[in-house]
Amino acid sequence: MAKPSQSSFVVKYDDNNQEFSIIGSMRPQDVSELEACTKLLETSLAGVRGTFYVNVKRLVRLNNIAFHVLAGSLVRACSERPDLRVAVITSSVVGWSTRKFGALNKVNPNIVVEEYDSEFYPGQSFLEEGEFIPILRTQTKMTWRHERNILPRHGMREGLTIADICCGIGDFAVLVYKEFKPARLVALDHSRSSLGYARKVAADFGIQGIEYIYGDAAEMLLEDEQFDFVTCRHALQIFNKPDLILKELFRICKPGGRVYVTNEKISQCLGEPRGESIQWTYDELSKLFAHFDMDLEFGPKSRKFMVEAGFDDVRMESFMVTNLDGDPQDFADIVKSWEELFAGGMSQQRGDSAEFVEKFRRGFQDHLFAALHPKGYAGWPVWVASGRKPA
């Protein structure tokens, strides 16, 4: 009999969704170690109608002994029941699984492999277009003026092990790297194009200490309790299930470490002159994001979410990025890009009328006017929250 191995995996079956999930590392020495898994798989298969889902998105490691057993059960079931369809859900983040499980389809076409990826966050595709990159950089430049002073109040200091989750184009990570000299800095995002840009920027600046990695913030493969300080900026507000992201941020944070998030309450963007038009447009912008399952009003809700996620010592503050921070043209450039992206792209995709789009655009243009007006004031508020993972 084989000695017990250190295979550390969890198998679950969700009857409602006909979904069999395997999570963790499955490297047994002998098939006998998989008896419970095999039994659950075969019992589950016996009771399903239509499509049976096998979720291996978080199956990080699998040896051939285990694959042989799983594949045998699935192929046998599909051979015996031609009405049965099996969908294996893999993740591109894992690297090997789509290719490995893809072999099943060659043996039985009723077994298909579907790779889970950014399609699960459809709204965000607006924010990952290449032309938006210069504006993201300008935004970070403007928020950094505030955050470089705010971060230490939330526990940031030199020499920490840091993760920047949903790092986007990675410019915040570069600034943190330069300012706070972390012992290790991992920056994760699920946009390959953004990561490609991030790596190029880091290389251009001769920075080699940032690990840019591809991953899904809701199901990260980073190990538990690795980081002293975890940042996640302007991201909870664009996920339809921010609690899942926070749960992951909590998981990878060391006990006693802190998680730092920033979010907006976009309806509180303001400006004068032409304040009324500006207010109307940003109220509508909030509704537009809600249409795409994104909550740009998330900022002040951060405290509630952090407490419910299990953090203590939750600290919160807000700051206002304004046209008076450096060059007003920077602020104007951001607003101009928002007009194009939101009134030009998202609003049209929602099917808004020409009259609506015209009025919607006007608010952005008035915000821009206020930003560049010699007596004008334009603001974009951001909420910061951080919480400590109990030791």
Binding site: A2, K3, S5, Q6, S7, S25, R27, Q29, V60, R61, L62, N63, N64, I65, F67, H68, A71, G72, V75, V93, V94, G95, W96, R99, K100, A103, K106, V107, V186, L188, L195, R199, Q208, E211, Y212, I213, Y214, G215, L221, L222
Partner: protein
Amino acid sequence: MTLAVHEAAAKAEFRPMLEVEMDIGVFVSNWTHCDRISSYLARMVSHNRTDSLLYSNLFSSALNELLETVFRSHAGEGRFRCHVSRAGSVDRVELTIPADDDRAAFYVETVRELHRPTVSDRYRKALFAQGPLDLRIGLYELAVDYGAVFSVEQPDSATVRLTADLALEDSEQ
């Protein structure tokens, strides 16, 4: 006798990175050594790859299959050595394995098979074959799914040295 089955990059180009060495008896005393060594080495060698986490996953998977093969296919006593070196995008894993004539023949013949066009078919058959798992499946997988380039040599009558060149940043595309 040295049997070179592949023209790999010149040895001089590879810079040593890490090495694990132990008595083969110690290595095979616990199955979890395969998982632990592959996970540890993968993490150590991956940090400066383009995507460290993805690379680490792939490297760990590949190395674990190599180590599991050694675990099940060795003979006699002696030192087991796992040496990792790097030349640009290629990471080279050299496994020095105590082996008698039969075990040496197993590695030599399997590496020959890996260079034949039928290797993909053999891998698929092994994946879905009834009965016990084919001992060669891990090497097949590396050659087919990971694009690994293998060579094997016999430094002496009691040892086999199996070399796998892995270009994992290319294979993930």
